[in-house]
């Protein structure tokens, strides 16, 4: 929709853009979040796609996904075909498909924009949390900081980015990518918005004993990602007990996309399915 209070749309020229950030400014990437939600406080859009960031950068350390990487670019990278050395990327497709919007929205919507919108159902938040990614954040004054996704998206449409802070990229560690991961989405409707989205992962064989043997990341059913790590592969009962110990009914998210009680059930059900899929337990 037209953002009728916006007076200026300016390209971000470089790293110093964060220092020029003012009240009433918003970072513009794909626009699919900003242009869908009226905010009469907006006066200026700062276009960070002008910075020309490379969408995806694979290194020995892992995968860096620029905030401006479109969901279409990510889906393509994760699908055609997923790099053989990084089997955990198999969940990328499922995360992209968990977005309520179709491929047309993928063509403009960005990974960073989805995280910064900070909706519980944001599937890029799920992806990042599910793969233990770290956010790189540019700070005013020239600094930068790194934070886990669960420390960035901290509530329903609430994030921990200070005014002017800019999500630059997310880094997925190679050690996670070399492992295996699986995904389960629950929704009220076919291909609908996530009521729960669970990602589980197991480490590659060479990290057995070093990394947690099983990690479960719960999103969409809760407003802030919950990660459960298990040093040993849990039994189904242990997994369920751990979920129940960590989350009580009141912790589950309530909105038009599902009741807390159902979401809790889906989390327990899908967690067990993921455990079986990844470990045979």
């Amino acid at each position: 929709m037209d953002l009728n209070t916006v007076e200026q749309l300016i390209p971000a020229t470089g790293r110093e853009a964060v220092d020029a950030f003012e009240p009433g400014d918003a970072w513009l990437a794909g626009g699919s979040a900003l242009f869908a939600w009226p905010d009469p406080k907006l006066r200026r859009l700062v276009d960070i796609t002008a910075l020309g960031w490379r969408a995806l950068t694979a290194t020995d350390a892992g995968l860096d996904i620029a905030a401006t990487c479109t969901i279409a670019e990510l889906a393509d990278y994760g699908t055609h075909p997923p790099p053989a050395e990084w089997p955990a990327l198999a969940i990328v497709r499922g995360c992209c498909e968990a977005l309520r919007g179709s491929f047309k929205v993928w063509n403009v919507g960005t990974v960073g924009g989805n995280i910064c919108a900070s909706l519980p159902a944001g599937p890029m938040t799920s992806l990042a949390a599910g793969l233990g990614a770290e956010c790189l954040i540019w700070q005013p004054g020239g600094g930068e900081r790194r934070a886990a996704v669960a420390d960035v998206v901290i509530g329903d449409c609430v994030n921990a980015l200070a005014p002017g802070e800019l999500l630059r990229s997310i880094h997925v560690p190679a050690d996670v990518l070399r492992g295996r991961a699986a995904i389960r989405q629950g929704s009220l409707t076919p291909m609908g918005r996530s009521a729960s989205l669970l990602i589980a992962r197991v480490p590659p064989a060479d990290l057995a004993g070093e990394a947690p043997a099983f990690t479960l990341v719960i999103t969409a059913a809760v407003a802030r990602a919950v990660t459960l790590e298990f040093a040993e592969v849990p039994t189904p009962a242990e997994l369920d007990a751990a979920i129940e110990a960590r989350l009580v009914l009141g912790d589950y998210f309530a909105d038009p996309h599902g009741t807390p009680r159902w979401r809790r059930h889906l989390v327990r059900l899908h967690a067990r399915e993921l455990l079986e899929e990844l470990t045979g337990a």
């Binding site: 037209d2 626009g31 242009f35 919007g101 291909m191 599902g258 009680r261 327990r268």
Partner: protein, 889 residues
């Protein structure tokens, strides 16, 4: 900045926050539609450098230097793109408002998307078709049939506007741009119940571009109803154009008119209101209790036609026919249950909107997206103290309605502003205004009780309902009465008790919606009928066959006195048999897996052809000398996707021995015919079609009388030869619908998969099988959304939570299964050329048939709509169904 749009270069500078959608529309590319403006419905899809995007989400300036293709550049009516031609051949549209988005999405599919069409189209909303016809278009299926002179009726002719629709040329309500157009935005109440102590508009008037601010001090204070009926006294007069009291959140409280939408919106933000917040009530049962906050305590019962303003009671009905107590006493089984039916919204893709101006003669013209131009004209004249002849109201093509446009929700304000300013003034609702502040279905609580003998003969029926009309009574009493009529009148047992109440609350008003009360009551009644069958161990179709009315029976519901409803034809027996056969023929999707529970369910619905109390339609047809097409047919009814624009031409062509293409249709314009009650109550074919038939017959008789010689004389004198027809909607016939489902339910998650869906309909002579089938499919799809997913949710403060199409769960292509449509072989003695209505009624039996199938599969009766996955799972878990409870380790 240079833009390339559909091959043309444009030098322009978009506004900083402008999206591509409005930028394109401002450059005449009005095929690009606004459906939601949040990227969810896909109506605004365009290609940027060949890539399909939602132009409402796309910053306009980002298109600089790129190649933008809209539906208007993709092809033309003369040389359509292959996808556009496919949509014509399959008739993959009804109202046509979503079509540009579907065409542009289809034209932009890659191999990957083509492999999974429901996924590719999950951001495209079609509210009319139920998607089957769109699937056909994507698969290259040709559905349209050829016409033949004098034999149009019964053929699947395409809509005449097809080529213009698929190429984005057809003009919808907001697609013209009159010179000097001003824009209106509304201040809406932030409180559910509050009084304006004072309102300061000075800062708003100081906003550059603002021309006018209207508050309650500036407009007539006459009470009226937004709901429109043939007789205006049918609805309570409880509404003011602008009121000093807000009775629901988002009620319109002031209007700002400015040179631009942006300035009007800024003006609204600058209005300062001192509110006295008042106590509010949101629950209809609470609203009836002594001491409850009063919604219209300031109204006079008689003057406003409100049963009891001091109890929030708008209307009520308490009737007894026969001896229900004796009937229940004589019953072998008595089944009783209570049900709750939710608010839903129409989600017609074209939002409400209107443009008003004064013509050279100083006459008020209002172009609006309405189903009722004449009734709007009459009420505007009354409100503004104008002679009706000094007001013209018209609609061109309307982008869906479903009852939502049987209201006067915005025309009054733009009319007042245009008269004040002497310039054209437009208002266009946002999707948020549509969902949070227009009208909804009436939420109802219902109790149904049925007694039956051991053999299965009903001995008595009882229906009690409490309807929540929200803050205003538009359609409230009429919907309540309709809910209590055909739902039980279809069963012949003469012993019936009805208790209905319709109540005000401080919530968004309810109004007319497809089914008009019957979708709520048919759900409750048909669920209880199903339980009676189970209790007696009788097949549910056989039980219905035993108890439904048939020619010779009287219709008994709230009265056992004869009304003007007759069996003009009767096909309910055929419909029941066809659904039985269809469910038994072995077709349908396979059961997904061993953990799924499978069940079948049926339900029926009856609909009187037109409203009680009459429905007026005038038609006029002329043989125009040397014109192409040769005949000009004028009707008052509106085309909003229901297909009447095609059927009226077919009727006239049939009578005059020509083809439909020989007939030009003009419709929904108060200057064209004397009067028409409008396109509601399924009257488009049965009532207005009858007027067309009479007009065509009159013209045919006149032509015969004149002979070739007389016709030549008239031609030489350049005189048109005219026939006129009028029908006042009585007597009425009855139409029937029976729906059957086979479903699979996964207890572990509550997911329902529809393995088989069939609806058998008694539409009399099917005038256009292609369109009639589409109406049934579309009604089924809309009803499936209402049965499974859709709900306008309201929070503890009375605010609508589901404010956009991301939170309001509408059915996508992925939700809607194919529905097999079967037609009964009947010919109606009352309907035009044997036809009966088939636009609202397909909606009504869907939810109960589905609930009955889920009951059959799981053993659990769901008594609340919608049957969302979470609620189904919760019900199954509460019932202790093994697959639904969490498996023990």
């Amino acid at each position: 900045m240079t833009f390339r749009i559909d091959g043309d270069e444009h030098e322009a500078t978009p506004r900083a926050g402008q999206c591509l959608r409005t930028f394109l529309r401002e450059r005449g590319r009005t095929g690009v539609k606004k459906g939601c403006d949040t990227g969810d419905c896909g109506a605004c899809t365009v290609h940027v450098d060949g890539t399909p995007v939602h132009s409402c989400l796309y910053p306009a300036s980002r298109a600089e230097g790129r190649e933008v293709t809209t539906v208007m550049g993709l092809g033309t009516p003369e040389t359509p793109h292959p996808v556009q031609q496919a949509f014509i051949d399959a008739q993959g549209f009804q109202c046509g408002f979503c079509t540009a988005g579907f065409v542009m999405t289809a034209a932009g599919l890659g191999e990957e998307q083509r492999a999974d069409l429901p996924r590719a189209f999950k951001s495209n909303l079609c509210r009319c078709t139920g998607y089957r016809a769109i699937h056909d278009a994507l698969a290259g299926v040709v559905n349209v049939e050829r016409d033949a002179a004098g034999a149009s009726v019964g053929r699947g002719l395409g809509a005449p506007a097809g080529p213009e629709i698929v190429t984005g040329r057809v003009e919808f309500t907001m697609d013209d741009a009159p010179a000097g157009l001003l824009h209106m935005a509304l201040l809406r109440s932030p409180h559910a119940h509050a009084r304006i102590r004072s309102i300061d508009t000075s800062a708003a008037l100081a906003v550059p571009g603002v021309q006018l601010v209207l508050t309650h001090d500036d407009v007539p204070q006459m009470l009226f109803s937004t709901g429109r009926h043939t007789t205006r006294r049918e609805d309570p007069d409880d509404t003011r154009i602008l009121d000093v009291v807000a009775r629901h959140k988002e009620q319109r409280m002031a209007a700002v008119v400015a040179d631009s939408v942006a300035a009007a919106e800024e003006g609204v933000r600058q209005i300062v209101v001192d509110w006295e917040v008042l106590p509010a009530v949101f629950d209809p049962a609470e609203a009836l209790k002594p001491g409850a906050p009063l919604v219209h305590g300031d109204k006079d019962a008689v003057e406003s036609r409100i049963v009891d303003p001091s109890r929030n009671l708008v209307g009520e009905v308490h009737t007894v026919c026969g001896d229900p107590d004796a009937g229940f006493a004589a019953a072998a089984v008595v089944v009783e249950d209570t049900f709750e039916v939710q608010r839903i919204q129409h989600v017609h893709l074209e939002t409400h909107g209107a443009t008003a101006w004064l013509d050279e003669a100083g006459r008020l013209n209002v172009r609006t997206s309405t189903q009722v131009p004449f009734l709007t004209r009459d009420e505007l004249a009354l409100l503004l103290d104008l002679d009706p002849s000094n007001v013209r109201v018209f609609a061109k093509r309307v982008g869906g309605g479903f009852g939502g446009k049987q209201e006067l929700l915005c025309e009054d304000l733009v009319a007042i502003a245009a008269m004040r300013l002497g310039q054209p003034v437009r208002i266009e609702f946002s999707r948020e205004e549509q969902l949070a502040a227009s009208t909804t279905r009436h939420p109802m609580r219902l109790r149904v009780r049925i007694g039956a003998t051991a053999e299965g003969d009903f001995t008595a029926m009882e229906l009690e309902l409490l309807s929540n009309t929200g803050a205003y009574g538009n359609h409230g009493p009429a919907v309540m009465f309709h809910a209590c009529n055909e739902s039980i009148g279809v069963y012949k047992v003469p012993h019936k008790r009805v208790d209905g109440q319709v109540v005000y609350t401080h919530t968004v008003p309810a109004g007319a919606l497809r089914g008009y009360g019957l979708s709520q009551s048919v759900y409750a009644v048909e669920c209880v009928v199903d339980e009676v069958a189970r209790r007696l161990g009788i097949d549910p179709i056989a039980l219905r066959e035993r108890n439904v009315v048939a020619p010779g029976d009287r219709f008994v519901a709230m009265s056992d006195e004869p009304e003007d409803v007759e069996f003009g034809s009767y096909g309910l027996d055929q419909c029941l048999a066809m659904v039985r056969d269809a469910l038994a023929d072995g077709s349908g999707e396979p059961v997904p897996g061993p953990e799924w529970l499978v069940g079948e369910g049926v339900a029926l619905g009856m609909l009187d052809a037109g409203p009680p109390g009459g429905h007026h339609a005038d038609a006029r047809i002329s043989l125009v000398p040397d014109a192409t097409p040769a005949y000009r047919l004028a009707v008052g009814t509106a085309e909003f996707g229901n297909g009447t624009a095609t059927v009226h031409r077919q009727i006239a062509a049939q009578v005059l021995g020509v083809t439909a293409s020989d007939i030009e249709l003009v419709a929904s314009d108060t200057d064209e015919v004397g009067h028409d009650s409008g396109a509601f109550a399924s009257a488009g074919v049965f009532v207005a079609g009858r007027a067309t038939l009479l007009a065509a017959q009159a013209l045919a008789a006149r032509l015969e009388e004149l002979g070739e010689e007389g016709i030549s004389v008239a031609r030489a004198a350049a005189e048109a030869i005219t026939g006129e027809g009028t029908f006042t909607g009585s007597p009425r016939s009855v139409a029937f619908n029976v729906h059957g489902f086979r479903v699979a339910v996964l207890p572990a998650t509550g997911e329902v998969r529809i393995l088989k869906s069939v609806q058998a309909v008694d539409a009399g002579t099917v005038m256009n099988p292609l369109q009639c089938r589409a109406q049934v499919e579309g009604g089924t799809a809309q009803a499936l959304g209402a049965a499974l997913d859709e709900e306008v949710l309201i929070d503890d403060e009375g605010a609508v939570v589901t404010r956009n199409l991301r939170t309001y769960n509408w059915p996508t292509m992925a939700t809607i299964p194919p529905t097999e449509v079967r037609f009964a072989d009947t010919h109606d003695a009352l309907g035009p050329l044997g036809a009966k209505p088939m636009s609202e009624s397909p909606f009504n039996p869907v939810a109960p048939a589905l609930a009955n199938a889920i009951r059959d599969a799981t053993g659990v009766r769901l008594t609340r709509l919608p049957m969302r996955r979470d609620r189904i799972w919760e019900a199954l878990a509460d019932a202790g169904l093994p697959g639904a409870t969490f498996p023990a380790s």
